[in-house]
């Protein structure tokens, strides 16, 4: 294998370079604020960095300072000649070299050359590919029931295995996911709480695990100080707009082509912030949540709710509401079905302590 080499190149600062660095800083700032999955500003940042690196690649060898440990540079993002704006966690050797270049009146630019001649050091923690998946059988049930059985089996396995194994909510009806998470989020005497990872069909894994057997949940809602009705996502069921107080999440932010786990994490972060805001004044809030079928959004929301309830018990109660329009649902309990602005919904099991 080819090996990596890295150096800091000192580029002469002129107006063009100053403008380029300013543009890079601006793009980086915007990229940091961008929604997960929105790569417009990331692409701009990377294009500008490439221009800077191309310019640095052509500098005289005398103005280059080789870096002895290229692997240590992996996380370095070095822009400009102002040490105060360099990242704090930069390796000491890189910082020293960069400072020396600045002292010569030049702008340091990190140049990584991954195709240098030599044998690449293989990863010290060599790992084999995971074994093929185990076969699974639902035991005769089919369709939606089988999907639910699969998810239930995954949760049970995650709870009982020596190490927590991931659960995969992809492709499962949103009401089934919600009810199953509700069932297993509830504490059970003698069963220890456990945080289990959540993984999506695309292989992505959420940064926030789901707390299971962790919450002393109750079956009935208690009176609240404030009741709000929210659609989980905007623009999904517009006929409902007149009936709800708002949408919990903006569809434009959430429904983007990106790994499922990123959507989950985004929803988690937004939900934690909004729940904290709702609970700020100490009042007890009830949310009626009219759900839609984006499983990453549903799971992200309920993970955030579970963590919020662990931190601030009894501050919020959530009544899930499931759209029931197209379903024949012969076996379902029709007594809890309600109509909102001519759209039929049924109540799920409340999340309340």
């Amino acid at each position: 294998m080819a090996t990596e080499a890295a150096c800091l190149a000192g580029v002469v600062k002129d107006d063009t370079l100053a403008r380029l660095i300013k543009d890079i800083e601006s793009a980086a700032s915007r990229a940091r604020k961008a929604e997960p999955g929105d790569r417009t500003d990331i692409a701009r940042f990377e294009a500008l960095m490439t221009r800077l690196e191309q310019r640095a690649a052509g500098v005289d060898p005398a103005r280059r300072m080789p870096l002895p440990d290229p692997a240590a540079c992996a996380e370095v993002t070095l822009v400009g000649d102002d040490p105060a704006r360099w990242p704090g966690e930069m390796p000491a050797s890189v910082r020293a070299a960069a400072t020396a270049i600045v002292a010569r009146g030049l702008v340091p630019v990190l140049v990584v050359e991954p195709l240098d001649a030599g044998a690449t050091v293989r990863p010290s923690d060599a790992q084999s590919a995971p074994d093929p998946a185990e076969r699974w059988d639902s035991g005769g049930v089919r369709g939606r029931q089988a999907v639910e059985a699969r998810f239930r089996a995954q949760i049970c396995e995650a709870l009982s295995a020596p190490k927590p194994r991931p659960i995969a909510p992809s492709g499962i009806n949103n009401s089934a996911v919600t009810e199953m998470l509700r069932e297993f989020a509830g504490a059970e005497p003698g069963v220890p709480a456990r945080r289990v990872p959540v993984e999506y069909r695309d292989g992505s894994r959420s940064a926030n695990p789901m707390p299971l057997r962790a919450l002393p949940l109750r079956g009935q809602l208690e009176p609240s100080d404030l009741t709000l009705r929210f659609a989980l996502l905007s623009i999904r069921h517009t006929e409902m707009d007149a009936a709800v107080d708002g949408a919990w999440l903006r569809n434009a932010e959430i429904s983007r082509p990106r790994p499922g786990a990123q959507t989950d994490d985004l929803v988690y972060d937004i939900t934690r912030q909004q729940l904290d805001e709702l609970a700020r004044h100490g009042s007890r809030v009830r949310l009626d949540l009219y759900q839609t079928g984006l499983e990453a959004a549903v799971v992200g929301f309920y993970k955030a709710l579970a963590d919020h309830l662990l931190a601030r018990p009894r501050s919020v109660a959530v009544q899930p509401m499931y759209y029931d329009g197209a379903s024949v649902a012969g076996a379902r309990d029709r007594s809890v079905r309600i109509t909102v602005d001519s759209s039929p919904f049924r109540k799920g099991t409340p999340w309340t302590m």
């Binding site: 294998m1 080819a2 052509g58 001649a117 050091v121 093929p132 998946a133 049930v141 089988a146 492709g171």
Partner: protein, 479 residues
């Protein structure tokens, strides 16, 4: 013909082929010693071969008609790479030597028996596909411009030059979290290499199973329903109710027994082996893939899916695997933009891989666009047979099999003598090591020693990066 003793397993197998009373449909394909109810006698077959100018080696015996352009021959003894008992496909027309005498099966009796099973189920399979599943899908999804969910029974049709070589109907089944197959059939046609229909259909099926996110188990015995012509159709699994004979036959030729653990299913373990066996990989790429599986922990399914869906093409992936330890990160969608050091390294290697890929396709292409008057432009299936090898330590790529004296693309009249060594980016590692350095269209030319050509890739750096970003996005949002 060679003399065979009774103890010889090939003789025993052939003896049973000739002794069994096959259904008429199969018997009419056989080439037997006395031609009773069969297509022809062995001596007639030799006469036919003589008319086509084929001098069959004495180790090969005509066994059956494959189609109207080829016959199956049984190897009576080890012969070249063929082992005794192998069934090989002899094309009567003049075909490229690499496609001649390809393996159809590993035993004469197994071959004929599998043809028998296949033909017995073909009528039912064709009826399902052509009269019910296909039209139902057209009405419900194609006409309505709707995208089906993964659990919908979806028809697959594979054709080569307007001739259908494979038909299947597949659906993700939550009852076992795998792929259910209610129709699967392929055929051999004169202009397509042996088992290519099976290989293509298997590749498509495995990619679908992978993308659906299940266990990769593929079952052939599960019920399915389709609404066709306002009538609910019920299918109790594949017509054969087990792994189809043609697919098992194909599995035998690539050394992957299918349905061995469960006759009605390709298990996740078998699916992995089949995926690796059918994904086209030159030897060096195959070796690199083995290292990636055992060292970087990349799953074989992900690598095969990446290659078959062409997120990264063969030479590109080979280059990545050969030259960077960051390949696991690249195949997972790339390092974070905030880790510029890692990202820069990955970008350079990816650009190199993309340019090498473009150069390879250009070198290998024989597109006759702009050729002389009267010559039709044919794009499909034309190449120069160029091969590549990558020096892991220097990132230098050697292309072999180029036309001697041919002009090197992306240069002004530089010619080569059959091989071309190229290094993407930068100066060559040492004088005389490479013939050329390739750089993007808008990158400043490096100082090159005498005798080293500069290849200007027609794409600019931003265009290359845009293409790379699309590939990384595909990797991020697929399994």
């Amino acid at each position: 013909m060679m003399a065979l003793t009774e103890a010889n397993p090939v003789a025993q197998s052939l003896g049973r082929v000739y002794a069994i009373s096959w259904p008429t449909e199969v018997a009419r394909m056989l080439i037997t010693p006395h031609a009773n109810d069969s297509a022809m006698s062995v001596s007639d077959a030799y006469a036919l071969l003589a008319r086509f100018g084929v001098d069959l080696p004495r180790e090969l015996l005509p066994l059956a008609v494959v189609d109207n352009g080829s016959i199956a021959c049984a190897a009576l003894a080890d012969w070249g790479p063929a082992r005794a008992g192998d069934v090989l496909r002899l094309h009567l027309a003049d075909v490229d030597p690499q496609f001649q005498l390809r393996l159809l099966d590993v035993d004469p009796l197994a071959y004929v028996a599998s043809i028998n099973e296949e033909l017995a189920a073909r009528g039912e399979g064709l009826r399902r596909m052509l009269d019910e599943i296909g039209p139902a899908y057209k009405d419900t999804y194609l006409r309505a411009e709707k995208r089906p969910r993964d659990f919908v029974v979806r028809p697959v049709r594979i054709a080569c030059q307007n001739v259908i070589v494979g038909l299947a109907a597949i659906a993700q089944d939550s009852a076992f979290d795998g792929l259910s197959v209610v129709a699967w059939q392929t055929c051999e046609v004169p202009h397509v290499a042996a088992h290519e229909g099976n290989r293509a259909l298997a590749a498509l099926t495995l990619c679908d199973a992978f993308r659906n996110g299940g266990t990769m188990e593929i079952r052939f015995d599960r019920d399915a329903r389709v609404l066709a012509n306002n009538r609910q159709r019920f299918y109790p699994g594949h017509p054969e109710r087990r792994v189809p004979a043609s697919l098992r036959r194909f599995g035998r030729t690539v050394g992957v027994p299918l349905g061995a653990e469960d006759p009605a299913a390709i298990t996740p373990v078998e699916a992995r082996d089949l995926f690796l066996a059918i994904t086209p990989m030159p030897d060096q790429l195959s070796a690199h893939v083995r290292i990636a599986i055992t060292t970087y922990g990349i799953s074989p399914e992900r690598i095969c899916f990446t290659l078959l869906s062409q997120v990264w093409r063969e030479i590109e992936l080979d280059y990545l695997l050969a030259t960077t330890a960051r390949v696991a990160s690249i195949l997972a969608g790339g390092a974070s933009w905030q880790q510029r050091g890692a990202r820069q390294s990955e970008s350079v290697v990816c650009r190199a891989a993309v340019m090498i890929g473009m150069l390879f396709r250009r070198l290998n292409s024989t597109d006759a666009a702009g050729a002389g008057h009267g010559e039709a432009r044919v794009v499909e299936d034309r190449n120069n047979g160029v091969t590549w090898s990558i020096d892991d330590e220097t990132g230098v790529v050697t292309f072999s099999g180029l036309p001697r004296g041919g002009t090197v693309p992306w240069t002004h009249g530089v010619t080569c003598e059959g091989t071309l060594t190229v290094r993407p980016f930068g100066p060559p590692p040492a004088p005389g090591v490479v013939d050329a350095v390739v750089v993007p269209a808008d990158v400043a030319a490096p100082e090159l020693p005498a005798g080293v050509a500069l290849l200007r890739c027609p794409e600019r750096l931003p265009d290359i990066d845009k293409g790379i970003e699309a590939r990384l996005l595909s990797s991020r949002i697929s399994r």
